[in-house]
């Protein structure tokens, strides 16, 4: 391979130079010898020889340049010709470039999301060493760890460098004119050490500050430092104010440090030697560990399992049932987004494939139409390789132009994605950077090969070219390949449309579900409070009651309540309950979802009472409500009046059931109601949601409510104000994003299939113009001509549809976890999809067919 050698030489210039130098010095020696033999003095001979030989390096340069030149020249010539040829066919070029831009652009946009969310390492040093730790218990799913247990784990393990924990609360900072809500993280010892960050300004916490009773201090975020303190380099020593306390700032953390989550602006030590932190039963830390270098996840798991088993022997009452769970921090951060992103990426990859098929079909048509030109090239002595190179150069120019346009599209796509997928983890990190550009170029390269190679090889077929040498219209079977490609496109489009259809149907079904409560006209909000305040439960309850009363008194408010978890939004708090009145061993265990609400909850949400009475706060006794599923599943008779307790939970003591309410889809609109117990108990701890049922538009009440709360609680801030319907809708934002994007991709796929079919039939019409003209001249009906082309198109479409259905049945099962109320093989959806595609195909084939029948026989025959 001569050209390979040439590339080799360009790369191996050092060796080439050495060879050439040796060769030339030999030449010089010989020359000098000859001159000396002719009678010259030595010095003169050397001089003459050198003069004759000239500048040695120049030869070297020239020789190498020649290699580069020939390579570049060929490539440039091919590219130049490709540009010229494409400029002559603007319609074709525009279609191909637009198709590729769509395919590559959508692909790059989704890839940028995959890269930013799933692939990119977390922004900490050695992020793979970071894991999330949890204690799990067969009775209760709890993501949290007791501080004292975390300290034990940290002390006894051999596989971790360090472990730490944190919790967050919404704080109200009041040194400004209005209270400002800030998210404050309370972190255990070793927090910065474990995360691997250091303050950019100031210092880490001192051991004294990490002890109970030590001074309270705070580290602030870069964002808050810039916004609130105007990037003051002397910020350390200044204070922020919460309630009555002024807390000094000891440092500023780096801008890219957003942990536990973006939006945290303050970090304070959480002393794990506080008296209340000694309980092995109360859990509140989300725990993070950094494994030692080289330690695998499996080693860490088995090590910590052994440590916990030891604790189980030491503290059988509290620790025997508990096991330690370890997940990579990256997984717990972004794992939830994986399935959506993978589905989307699969879809855009199909779209890219369709785009490539489309372009291949178009290039093939073009190559066939240019058979005569190619035949001429052959007869002028062009090699098969050079003809292939020529066609590939065209595909390359098209792909690169497509990729350039695609980047613009992807930029817009990324912006759309960020707003559609606002709930996705790390979504703000999604940007177009050089990797995405590189990725687009790789896509373009792939497209060149996928689109260009087949037409290039076919187009460069000597036999085909020979057959075309004579008359242009001798044409047989050349169109078959195009039709196969179009069929493939149709089937891929059907597959995508089926997926999108199923998601749309799911969303429709979800909209039709009656959730068992009325989210309309309910406003939700939160009021800042701290975990510290929960030490005086009675005061907290009085505070919450006072707030609820004040809001209730507002004109336009019908009912108010609090709840720890918003209804209709996925949240799990599964508890096992004991029936104080006794329960046979043979009967199933009583397991239920637990919710803590205030008595007004059922009136506010319109959940009807079925038996007993609505709970009230009663002196001396805790009361609760249960839902119908709970009553029916666990009790034959009415459970009203029975007492339920939760072993090992000091927080929620024994309670009496006062009534039974109807089932509501508390855990999410898409989930069947589970057995549920409601504790009538509004502790007002951080995370409590306030609900207000309003007469009119709930949004109109947000200002009056904010003002009312400010009147009685001037030091607290009201935040997260939104209608319940919006909150629920936000919880399903990922569903919607998936549906919208997949729908968009499917629509694009159908459009491409339309273009492909239309283009191919048009092409076939053009090629067979003479035949049509002859037929018409011989008296064929124009309708028959239409029928002939139309049936050709419909046959391809029908075959494509059947292929698409098979493919869809194979692939839609990947969607099954995301569907609601329809099966992955829903016949209605699939039928609808096929009908839609057939209608589009009919239009696509009908237009060129009609054009074919309008041919004037005389003109065609004269022309040829």
């Amino acid at each position: 391979m001569a050209w390979l050698d040439r590339v080799w030489n360009v790369l191996r210039r050092a060796r080439l130079q050495r060879d050439l130098n040796r060769e030339l010095s030999f030449h010089l020696t010989e020359k000098i010898e000859e001159l000396e033999a002719g009678g010259m003095s030595q010095s003169e001979a050397v001089r003459t020889a050198r003069l004759q030989l000239g500048n040695v390096t120049k030869y070297v340069e020239r020789t190498r340049e020649m290699d580069i030149h020939r390579l570049l020249e060929n490539t440039l010539r091919n590219l130049r010709q490709a540009f010229r040829a494409l400029a002559k066919a603007p319609g074709f070029t525009a279609t191909v470039v637009a198709t590729l831009a769509l395919g590559i652009g959508a692909n790059s946009a989704v890839f940028s999301a995959i890269w930013a969310v799933l692939l990119r390492p977390l922004p900490f040093p050695e992020p793979d060493q970071l894991v999330q730790l949890a204690q799990s218990n067969p009775k209760m799913k709890a993501p949290f760890v007791a501080p004292v247990r975390l300290a034990d784990w940290n002390r006894l393990n051999t596989t971790f460098q360090s472990m730490t924990g944190y919790y967050t609360e919404e704080a109200s900072e009041i040194s400004g004119e209005l209270p400002e809500r800030l998210t404050r993280a309370f972190v255990a010892r070793r927090f910065l050490e474990t995360m691997g960050v250091a303050p950019v300004l100031g210092r880490d916490f001192t051991p004294a500050e990490e002890h109970f009773g030590g001074p309270t201090v705070v580290l602030i975020s870069d964002r808050y430092w810039r916004r609130r303190f105007n990037s003051d380099p002397n910020v350390t020593g200044k204070t922020v104010r919460f309630g009555k306390t002024f807390v000094p700032i000891v440092g500023v953390l780096p801008a890219n440090f957003q942990f536990p989550r973006p939006g945290v602006d303050l970090w304070s030590p959480s002393p794990d030697d506080a008296p209340f932190a000694h309980s092995r039963e109360l859990t509140w830390y989300t725990a993070i560990g950094r494994m030692k270098p080289g330690v695998t996840l499996a080693q860490a798991r088995s090590n910590l399992a052994a440590v916990q088993a030891g604790l189980g022997r030491e503290f059988p009452k509290t620790d025997a049932q508990i096991s330690a769970a370890i997940e990579p921090l990256k997984e717990t951060t972004v794992g939830s987004a994986r399935s959506s992103l993978v589905i989307l990426f699969g879809s855009v990859s199909l779209l890219l494939l369709i785009a490539c098929t489309n372009v291949a079909a178009l290039l093939l048509s073009r190559a066939t139409a240019r058979q005569q030109e190619i035949a001429v090239r052959f007869s002028l002595g062009a090699s098969r390789g050079s003809v292939i190179g020529h066609v590939l150069a065209e595909a390359f120019v098209l792909s690169i132009s497509g990729a350039a346009l695609a980047l613009l599209l992807a930029e817009a796509g990324v912006r759309a994605f960020r707003s559609l997928a606002a709930n996705l983890p790390r979504v703000t990190d999604i940007v177009l950077d050089w990797r995405i550009v590189l990725y687009s170029l790789v896509c373009a390269l792939f497209a060149t090969l996928a689109c260009g190679l087949f037409p290039a090889i076919r187009g460069a077929d000597r036999d085909l070219a020979d057959s075309a040498r004579g008359t242009r219209t001798i044409f047989s079977g050349g169109g078959r390949a195009q039709f196969v490609l179009v069929g493939v496109q149709v089937s891929l489009a059907v597959t995508l449309l089926a997926g999108a259809g199923l998601l749309v149907r799911s969303l429709q079904q979800l909209g039709r579900v009656s959730p068992g409560f009325q989210p309309e006209r309910v406003l939700t909000f939160q009021v800042s409070s701290s975990w510290g305040e929960t030490s005086d439960m009675r005061a907290e309850r009085r505070r919450v009651d006072r707030t609820l009363e004040r809001i209730q008194a507002l004109p336009g408010v019908e009912a108010t309540a609090t709840t720890m978890d918003l209804p209709g939004i996925a949240s799990d708090y599964q508890v096992e309950l004991m029936v104080e009145e006794g329960r046979a061993e043979t009967e199933p265990k009583v397991i239920a979802e637990g919710r803590a609400i205030s008595p007004g909850y059922f009136a506010t949400l319109g959940i009807p009472l079925l038996a007993g009475e609505v709970c009230r706060e009663e002196p001396g006794i805790y009361t609760m409500m249960v839902n119908r599923t709970f009553a029916n599943r666990y009790f034959r008779a009415s459970p009203v009046g029975l007492h339920l307790s939760q072993p090992n939970n000091m927080y929620l003591p024994k309670s009496v059931i006062r009534g039974v309410v109807a089932d509501a889809r508390e855990l999410g609109i898409h989930r069947e109601p589970a057995p549920t117990v409601y504790w009538c108990f509004s502790p007002g701890q951080p995370g409590t949601h306030y609900l207000a049922r309003t007469h009119g538009d709930p949004r109109a009440m947000s200002e009056p409510i904010r003002r009312a709360v400010h009147e009685i609680e001037p030091l607290r801030s009201v935040f997260d104000v939104a209608p319940l319907a919006d909150q629920i809708s936000d919880a399903y934002a990922e569903n919607r994003m998936r549906t919208i994007l997949l729908g968009f991709f499917a629509a694009a796929a159908v459009l491409l299939a339309y273009v492909g079919l239309y283009g191919t039939i048009s092409y076939s019409v053009n090629v067979r113009q003479r035949e049509v003209g002859l037929k018409l001249a011989l008296g064929a009906m124009r309708t028959r001509i239409v029928g002939q082309f139309l049936s050709q198109g419909l046959l391809v479409a029908a075959l494509g549809c059947s292929g698409g259905i098979v493919l869809a049945l194979a692939l839609t099962r990947f969607l099954s976890g995301m569907l609601f109320g329809v099966s992955a093989k829903d016949p209605m959806t699939l039928t609808g999809v096929v009908i839609a595609v057939l209608v589009v195909s009919t239009i696509a084939s009908l237009l060129p067919s009609i054009r074919a029948s309008r041919v004037e026989p005389i003109e065609v025959l004269r022309e040829q």
Binding site: A2, D19, E23, L24, H27, E30, T63, R70
Partner: protein, 113 residues
């Protein structure tokens, strides 16, 4: 008589012809050979020879290998490949057509002014 610099494009032909004997020759020998055979009418410029040899090697017309001369010096020896032989035939053919054409034009009648 002035020495003629070799017409552009004919150097390849001359080198091919020189090597057609089947002998392996180094660049210096090729130069001397052409000059001798042409009775010093043609002069091979080194500045053109080596790039040309290199190109011909890349085209696959020549094979090159390192060897030692009788005087025990390292030199690069060139020989003709089958492809080169074919090329020679083609170039000879086109050369004779060219010269014949030129000759006919030169023999032809002068245009009147």
């Amino acid at each position: 008589m002035r020495k003629n610099d070799i017409l552009k494009g004919t150097l390849v032909l001359l080198v091919l012809r020189t090597l057609a004997s089947g002998r392996k020759m180094h660049g210096y020998a090729i130069t001397s050979h052409i000059q001798q055979i042409s009775d010093l009418l043609l002069r091979v410029e080194e500045g053109s020879l080596y790039p040309a040899l290199h190109r011909m090697e890349q085209e696959g017309w020549l094979r090159a290998e390192w060897g030692t001369t009788e005087k025990k010096r390292d030199a690069r020896f060139y020989s003709l490949t089958a492809k080169g032989r074919k090329q020679l035939a083609e170039e000879q053919e086109s050369w004779s057509r060219l010269t014949e054409g030129v000759a006919r034009v030169l023999r032809g009648p002068m245009e009147a002014k």
